[in-house]
């Protein structure tokens, strides 16, 4: 009997702990301890390099504050979501219930982010997404417990479409992986491009992570008579598309224009000289001339002995938003943790990518999007050169709640 009694006490204690975690731990209970942040990323597989960059950028931001706010240390507890919503949910629950984190940050995949956004809303646990570009995250799935420090697909690509249309490009082929991120990024480009007077003459959607040979698609694109291919790909798919595009002699005839992931520096070793002369849009590059960027790049180089990629810049933005928020809160975690998010929403700060402010749905906006060209520097190494800039677009509406 004693045994079963012990067991049931434990169950009650466990239930109480879960209850406490979901309802919100009163701030006095943890005055002395560190502020705990759960960092969910995809540390293995396709998005491992992306996650590592983000993690490093975040560390730079925290180090800038000496690793503490109001003499409370910042403790990061990491978890790997394996780019799978169900695993992400497990890790979320583990971080909240076992590790008792104050809030959660990171999350690469929009699929995982959508799964977590509902949990965050129901459990009243703040989540500050650091990637998760799908428009729906702060649209259809918006919540007072969700913020996004990066940007939305529409914010990044809509004005890019308008920009290219204004530069004398009348016809384009869009090409991307046939899944949600591909559709939201290229869909935003298409809306902007066609509103600007251009025409998308062909859309090529390739099965995500199943396609290895782009010969057929590229041949069709080469035959379409369009002026550019506008692509969204990442990782191994980006390498294959860029290489095969060059193999077919389309580099001058039908330039492949894309974003920071198609021409990610992680892919440069695999692409060699093929990247030279390529143009793409990005939110940050190491030679960007502004104070915040210089400071960040310098700190990053000192610590990691290499240039930060755009993922590191996104990690830094995320960390900076968190640290500024915590500073404003005086290192106290408020009883209603939605206040963390609303405090963040009111921030405006200079980030490496430009000024960051948030919209009413807690989604960070892009002040500027940069067009860069990859050139060879004096040592023969590829380097990004500034070409032009344009303003980022607003987010799509779609949030039915008000907060």
């Amino acid at each position: 009997m004693a045994f079963s009694f012990e067991k049931s006490t434990r169950t009650i204690l466990g239930a109480a702990a879960i209850l406490a975690a979901t309802v919100g731990v009163p701030s006095y209970a943890q005055d002395k301890g560190p502020i705990k942040i759960g960092l969910i990323l995809t540390y293995k597989g396709v998005y491992a390099p992306v996650s590592e960059g983000f993690d490093r950028g975040l560390q730079i931001a925290i180090a800038e504050y000496g690793g503490k706010i109001a003499s409370r240390a910042i403790e990061i507890i990491r978890a790997d979501d394996e780019l799978t919503p169900s695993v992400g949910v497990q890790k979320f629950n583990k971080l909240v219930q076992l590790d008792k984190v104050d809030f959660i940050t990171g999350v690469v995949g929009s699929n995982v982010a959508i799964a977590l956004s509902e949990l965050a809303d129901r459990g009243k646990v703040p989540v500050i997404f650091g990637f998760a570009f799908a428009d729906e995250i702060t649209g259809k799935f918006c919540s007072p417990y969700i913020a996004r420090s990066s940007f939305s697909a529409n914010g990044f690509q809509y004005n890019s479409g308008k920009y290219w249309a204004s530069k004398g490009i009348k016809t384009a082929v869009i090409m991307g992986p046939d899944y949600s991120a591909g559709h939201s990024f290229l869909g935003a480009f298409k809306r902007g491009f066609e509103e600007g007077g251009g025409k998308v003459v062909q859309e090529i959607w390739t099965p995500f992570q199943k396609t290895k040979d782009w010969g057929a698609a590229l041949t069709q694109a080469g035959n379409s008579g369009a002026q550019i291919i506008y692509a969204f790909y990442a990782g191994s798919e980006a390498v294959q598309v860029v290489k095969q595009h060059a193999d077919f002699g389309l580099k001058d005839k039908l330039p492949l224009i894309g974003d920071q992931w198609v021409y990610d520096e992680a892919l440069w070793p695999a692409l060699g000289d093929l990247v030279i002369g390529a143009k793409h849009i990005t939110v940050h590059f190491p030679d960007l001339e502004n104070e915040a960027s210089k400071k960040f790049v310098k700190a990053f180089r000192e610590r990691f002995k290499e240039d930060p990629d755009v993922n590191a810049a996104l990690g830094y933005d995320n960390g900076k938003a968190i640290m500024l928020t915590l500073e404003k809160l005086g290192g106290e975690i408020p009883e209603d943790r939605a206040k963390i998010i609303s405090t963040m929403r009111d921030l405006t700060f200079d980030a490496p990518r430009g000024k960051i402010r948030f919209n009413a749905q807690n989604s960070a906006l892009l002040e500027k999007v940069y067009l860069v060209e990859i050139v060879k520097d004096a040592d023969g190494k590829p380097r990004r050169k500034f070409v032009d800039e344009f303003a980022g677009a607003g987010d799509l509406s779609g949030c039915a709640k008000s907060f």
């Binding site: 597989g45 491992a48 396609t211 290895k212 057929a216 390498v239 695999a270």
Partner: protein, 292 residues
């Protein structure tokens, strides 16, 4: 017409790449009745070893020659030291071996990621095969022509060796009557291990051939397993010529679907697989009496 010709060449190129990938698997299955899911691991090994050689020597051709040696050795050791002893202890049902080799596939991807990280690499296209070749009024990338030639050469060489040489005769005899071959003084275990190694080397060869067009990364071998199995099943389990024709069917289906019916691309090849499994489970080109 030009567009059709271009797409036909694309289809042929993809078919030959698929054939290079699948032929080793067919060979192993046909001769030893082993369902080797680790085939993708040997593909990865060949590509990475080729990359190391290409970096050290700066030569694609050296990579192409030496790259397959590591998967050859690994395949030989796997068959001789692991699979053969298992078979002798009676643990060699398809399920046993499929589970073992399936685990090996993922273990290799994990080990490669541990050693090389999850970065992307590539082997540069050799100077000789850079650029494009003009033929019949179109221009086609020279390297893709090379892939087509490599596939056809391997197919021709294999069919010659198996049909016309003493080694081929010994192999065929070993499959039909193992005891008799052993009685004639041939060490069948070594022979089988050599064939396993050779099949793995072909996968490694495909890895190096694919490297300049695609890219090298830790989980590259996992994605190819399904496609190669479709080829092996459609072609008839263990049927070398069948796998050649099946590669053509799979490559052409995939290319023409991608070009003209993109919605069907993902679906087309699997629909073919299901149809074959229902109507002719021994494969479109399967010989009578050689069921798995």
């Amino acid at each position: 017409m030009q567009l059709f010709l271009l797409q036909f060449l694309n289809g042929l190129q993809l078919s030959m790449l698929v054939f290079l990938l699948a032929v080793g698997l067919t060979l192993i299955f046909g001769l030893m009745n082993i369902l080797n899911l680790a085939h993708g691991a040997f593909f990865t090994m060949g590509a990475y070893f080729g990359l190391i050689i290409a970096k050290a020597t700066g030569s694609f051709w050296a990579a192409l020659l030496v790259g397959p040696l590591l998967p050859f050795a690994a395949g030989f050791v796997l068959q001789f030291c692991v699979l053969q002893p298992l078979a002798e202890r009676g643990r060699s049902t398809h399920l046993d071996l499929a589970l073992l080799t399936f685990g090996l596939l993922f273990a290799t991807a994990g080990a490669v990621e541990y050693l090389y990280g999850s970065n992307f690499y590539s082997i540069a296209t050799p100077d000789l095969l850079k650029g494009r070749i003009a033929l019949l009024g179109i221009e086609y990338p020279a390297y893709r022509i090379f892939i087509i030639a490599a596939g056809i050469s391997v197919a021709a060489a294999l069919s010659l060796v198996i049909d016309r040489t003493l080694i081929g005769a010994t192999l065929r005899a070993g499959v039909d009557n193992r005891e008799m071959v052993t009685a004639l003084g041939i060490n069948i275990n070594v022979l089988f291990a050599l064939v396993f190694g050779f099949g793995s080397a072909l996968a490694g060869f495909a890895g190096v051939v694919a490297a300049p067009v695609m890219s090298i990364y830790s989980s590259m071998g996992i994605g190819i397993v399904v496609t190669t199995f479709v080829v092996v099943v459609v072609g008839g389990l263990g049927n070398l010529k069948g796998s050649f024709y099946a590669s053509l069917i799979v490559g052409m289906t995939d290319t023409f679907a991608q070009a003209f019916f993109p919605e069907a691309e993902l679906f087309a090849v699997y629909a073919l697989l299901i149809a074959v499994m229902i109507i002719r489970p021994q494969g479109l080109f399967g010989a009578v009496g050689r069921l798995a």
